[in-house]
Symmetry: C2
Subunit: 248 residues, 2 copies
């Protein structure tokens, strides 16, 4: 497809450790906060583009370390979720949010259908096609893949403080979430918190894992725990232990 | 991707009435019985390639007429399901069947991972990407699409005769199926027969409709009813009536 938005800028998908031997395939939809040059800053202040509304703070490094510890292939998305939220279907109003939490996104107002198709076609689809290729390869080799998506959430959301530290989100398939949630003594770990299927956030899992019948879980880490490299290393390692145990 | 299987032969997806105004998007995964030249006849007799095991007899013309009656975009797949069954995930053993009903498919035995990836990458993926593009376009324009897949089934399966004439198959979303099944007086119409979600045949619906939250149904017509043009026209017209009523 002719690129009208990225116009030669980097592909949205970053595939790490493509030859990884683990059955786990890691996905990080909100790893990056880059904005395509043509969209400027979407009308936002530079500081807003560092906030949770733009990306999942800390998630990229947790994903990269976890990929190394598990020897798992990782697929990340480099553009800000404010440009296109790859964990939403294109039918969702928040796929290209006009308002994120309490911040208006001027560059997302009054988009034409062509503007929306450019973001969908040049960011969302190439990213999801990269995930599909990684999973297809495992299917062709007879490897039963397991999909794990890595996210972080903000401690204070719309003025309310959240106690939950670690969330394991699932839709129909609760196998991995049910195992993982029991593996963190002393941590406030919960199933389907701070988000649940009704919030429409299980898109990647429902798009890639459910139709294949492969196991999956969406992991949400409170971002104050992974604000620096020490925390990111710590939580990648802590997550790797029950994941390795649940691998077979 | 470099083509190692099709090598310049026709694309698997046939998109009909791309500018159709209906909210319905029709899909016919098993419309064709073509075999890529490189695969010969898959070791089968010419007569086997005309049987139900190779394609959904009558489904192409029912789909084309229905597309015209509804002014709906239709996406069909031209290669035989014996080459690749686009209504199965790549993880399913019957995506590339070694045995179909009681017929062995010699050309599908002992395939390498590369052979499987070529079929998946050159037939399954381009077809499903065509469906995705059609649905994405509707999402960008704010049209709530409805996905209807058209299939036919054989009256005698593994030696047993089936009474059911018309099946409306659904997984979680029973809205369209529930309405349609009541709209055929004097016809043996049933929900989730002759196949149901447990048979793993809801793949297209689960891949394209469920993650988007759009309504869907899979229609199965007994193929003795649509063996000729008269029957194909009749059943396309009979199906169009309740579909038009359920459109809004």
């Amino acid at each position: 497809m002719a690129q009208s938005l990225l116009d030669g800028e980097d592909d949205p998908a970053i595939v790490v450790n493509e030859a990884g031997k683990s059955p786990y395939v890691l996905v990080c939809e909100h790893a990056g906060n880059r904005i395509p040059r043509k969209l400027g800053t979407l009308g936002l202040a530079a500081a807003d583009l560092e906030r949770h509304i733009a990306w999942d703070i800390g998630a990229e490094r947790v994903s990269r370390v976890l990929s190394r510890l598990l020897d798992a292939t990782l697929v990340m998305q480099r553009y800000s979720r404010l440009v296109y939220d790859c964990n939403r279907p294109p039918e969702a109003a928040d796929a290209i949010p006009v308002m994120s939490e309490a911040t208006a996104v001027p560059g997302n107002s009054n988009l034409s259908a062509e503007d929306k198709m450019a973001r969908l076609g040049e960011i969302c689809r190439p990213f999801h096609e990269a995930v599909t290729r990684v999973l297809d390869r495992r299917a062709a080799y007879g490897v039963a893949a397991k999909l794990v998506t890595i996210h972080s959430f903000t401690k204070v959301y719309k003025g309310k403080t959240r106690d939950v530290q670690l969330g394991f989100l699932h839709d129909r398939d609760s196998y991995l979430g049910g195992r993982l949630v029991k593996s963190f003594p002393g941590v406030d770990a919960r199933l389907n918190e701070p988000y649940a299927p009704k919030d429409g956030v299980l898109h990647t899992v429902n798009l890639h894992a459910a139709p294949r019948g492969i196991k999956s879980v969406m992991i949400e880490i409170r971002n104050d725990l992974i604000a620096n490299e020490r925390g990111q290393n710590e939580w990648a390692q802590r997550l790797s232990v029950p994941l390795i145990q649940a691998a077979s």
